[in-house]
Symmetry: C2
Subunit: 469 residues, 2 copies
């Protein structure tokens, strides 16, 4: 089925009109129906069609969210949570219209428990805001998906990014959360203990559910101590295979690498041009090590030895902050660097994840596919986890480009799934990957549907995402 068919839904016009009338009285100026605001709250970061909500409510409290959900439940109107709008698979689109709940104003850091290495925040806090707030405590929140996303959104899509190989994903770093469920009830999923065996893991059920089961209004997050020393560097390799094999050896040896990122030759070319770097245009690994002074030196030297063994190197590493910052800024600018390869074209970000033993094979086959169909599509990857991104550049106004893109993404996902991998390591399903989740999980999707129907019998919570009911 084409994506356009998958994401088509019917609208409940009278319910929507009634709900907006009621909510307008409750929220006044905090409810907006202007075209520009509604467009901005639907999806804009992909080639997917923009499907606007009918109104946007700027909420300030859990109670606000409960009030909206109750009104929407009474009138069977969709409720779509919105953080910063940086999700990549159409998660904030409103295929059946409805109310967008903008949580960006819920941006209080409620408490930081330094002794317990945790904090409780509202969902609109962004990861950069949290880390700025934490600066003087000696602690930091490690998950870094690139975009300065809201932490509620990051939890909803089970985001991760460059640090996941060391610190895990949002799955591992949310201790507890409060979510407003489809019946308007606010449910707290766990207490603040670092582990628990008390019943079903509701925290992990809500994390990654993309707003389809509840709207997150509070998060308790694990924090990490800022390491005494950080070292990093870039290491070139003769081939993607050589780089991947070095990664496997590094992980097997138990080197606690904090980041290990693959950048393929085309992406290196883009980075070099965009960020004025002095590196070879060959596949490279970007690395970072966290630990004591002695520890990061030992890790760096151990890695240099592994790189050498696989024909890579030289691995020039440094503890100097300025040089490392320049390095990671370049890596984070990958998206802009890609766009600069072909001005006026749109860069589409897509991701898959495979067991790392299959990573080299998967990337090489993907590079061949890209060459055969004549796409411009650089690759970067969080290779310690087997996760990589492809960023095809397309003319979104050209139906042939869309068709070529969709068939490329279909082959990419089929390839990852055939290698015992997943159609998304960290972007989520949203609308963009709905065509692949059944292929990946089969009867598991029926279990998801049963849970969805039990917890949201009216299908008002971000409907038309992850799977069709």
């Amino acid at each position: 089925m084409a994506l356009a068919d998958l994401v088509r839904m019917d609208r409940n016009e009278s319910g929507i009109a009634t709900a907006i009338d009621i909510l307008k009285q409750r929220f006044g100026e905090r409810l907006a129906t202007g075209q520009a605001i509604r467009e901005q709250h639907a999806h804009t970061t992909t080639y997917l069609p923009n499907q606007m909500p009918d109104a946007v409510v700027f909420v300030r409290s859990t109670q606000d969210v409960q009030d909206i959900v109750r009104v929407c439940a009474d009138h069977r109107v969709p409720v779509i949570p919105f953080g910063t709008g940086t999700s990549l698979e159409g998660q904030v689109n409103a295929p059946a219209g409805g109310i967008s709940v903008d949580l960006s104003g819920m941006d209080r850091i409620v408490e930081v428990n330094a002794e317990d290495l945790d904090c409780t925040i509202e969902p609109g806090v962004t990861r950069e805001a949290l880390n700025t707030h934490l600066r003087d405590t000696g602690l930091f929140f490690p998950i870094d998906p690139g975009a300065n996303a809201s932490l509620g959104g990051m939890a909803s899509t089970r985001a991760s990014g460059t640090n996941a190989v060391r610190y895990g994903t949002m799955r591992d770093n949310v201790l507890s959360l409060t979510a407003v469920m489809a019946n308007g009830q606010a449910v707290t999923t766990a207490r603040r203990a670092r582990k628990s065996s008390a019943g079903y893991d509701l925290t992990r059920l809500i994390v990654g559910s993309e707003g389809t089961l509840g709207i997150i209004t509070s998060l308790t997050l694990r924090l990490q101590g800022i390491p005494q020393a950080i070292a990093g560097g870039v290491c070139p390799f003769p081939s993607v295979e050589a780089a991947c094999n070095a990664v496997i050896a590094t992980i097997q040896m138990g080197i606690p690498v904090a980041r290990i990122e693959l950048v393929n030759a085309l992406q290196m070319k883009a980075l070099i041009a965009y960020s004025k770097l002095d590196y070879p245009e060959s596949p490279c690994l970007f690395l970072e090590f966290h630990g004591t002074d002695a520890g990061v030196a030992e890790q760096s030297e151990l890695f240099a030895g592994i790189a050498d063994e696989f024909g890579g190197g030289p691995f020039l590493w440094t503890r100097e902050t300025e040089e490392r910052t320049r390095l990671w800024k370049a890596r984070h600018d990958a998206y802009h660097a890609v766009k600069a390869l072909r001005p006026g074209y749109q860069a589409v970000a897509t991701d898959v994840c495979v067991p790392i033993s299959r990573l080299a094979e998967c990337i090489v086959e993907t590079e061949r596919d890209i060459a055969e169909v004549g796409l411009i599509a650089p690759i970067v990857g969080h290779v310690g986890d087997g996760n990589f991104h492809v960023s095809p550049l397309i003319d979104a106004s050209d139906p042939r480009d869309i068709e070529r893109l969709e068939s490329f993404i279909a082959r990419l996902n089929a390839r990852a799934i055939a290698m015992d991998g997943t159609c998304t390591g960290e972007h989520g399903i949203g609308q963009g990957k709905m065509g692949f989740i059944e292929k990946e999980l089969g009867a598991g999707v029926d279990v998801m549907r049963s849970i969805k129907r039990a917890l949201d019998p009216l299908n008002i919570m971000n409907p038309g995402k992850i799977f069709n009911l």
Copy 2:
């Protein structure tokens, strides 16, 4: 409500008789109804009453489990999974009778993927059997709850133990699993990629669900590289507070301690007597560090400095295997050491978990409570996680002892919950903690009930556990 009331359920006599007839034809000698076998498959590790199943089937395949579940669904008969019977809260009891599914014969190690640091196994494999199998690969499975439990059982109860502070719990170390659901369908929850954002986290939903949603018939587990060097030692402290403060400082400093275990003064006395150790009878921390030769030396010295700061020490550490083995054998023998304190009495193992900032306070108050009610109840704890165990010694035939025990456990759980902790860090709810989960999670338990009803509408999967429907 008293525990005895919570765990009472009605039996479906005719359904049970019919199901056993049908299953007898299908399984022949592999279905047992003898009293001794049935008793052994109900709960024996606690003071809870033994509630026998009506038959035990020794299964060999996922298909066997599917056949049993389908017959039991047709006749509304409970199905209770059984691994090694080492669970501690009555998880394998059969309050409404039914069929015990003994998975210990499903003990094949299906594959080890050394490059991906994972393996796929059947649920009856024990953790010791897995580690013995892995010995020559340079890999190990880190989760160690003490007992040589089956890995299926460990997943079902979300077990953890001494290594969790470094390697996480079963929640973090199951990549994927296959479970036979209440409709007889076998569902695989994820593929073998190390991370995924594809839909609801069914893996984490089944892990810790104690057989109430499905029966695990296959597990894919994360493995770790055996560290180059291991160091360890015991460090005495003047008080529980001093020891806990040293733990907090260690974690905050980011020392990647592999194990950090608190043993209180009474438990030390028991260990010293039982294992003939030459240590002071004061609160002690047992520690272990994993890393390179230089790394474990640095970690050990850093910790020694912290211990000194809090009035503890001397911290004598060693890389020598024999001495470390003796140390951890003593720690693992805690249960037997406790029993030896008062021969003929039963040692009841109970656990709670609190934020580590509250740990000292929680243990000190618990020690005072123990003294006031005149229990003999040593304490050991996985203090890096804020998790500790109390092991009251009781005469299980004396109703006054049972009453005193139950009221002590009720106060212990209320204390932990009031400190933003959980009524169980790693033992699960089973029957023993059913009285506390609502106090801990409130409306969260309603969400669990909705999920249970959706996935097991006939309530045949290990009924009468975690919560009453």
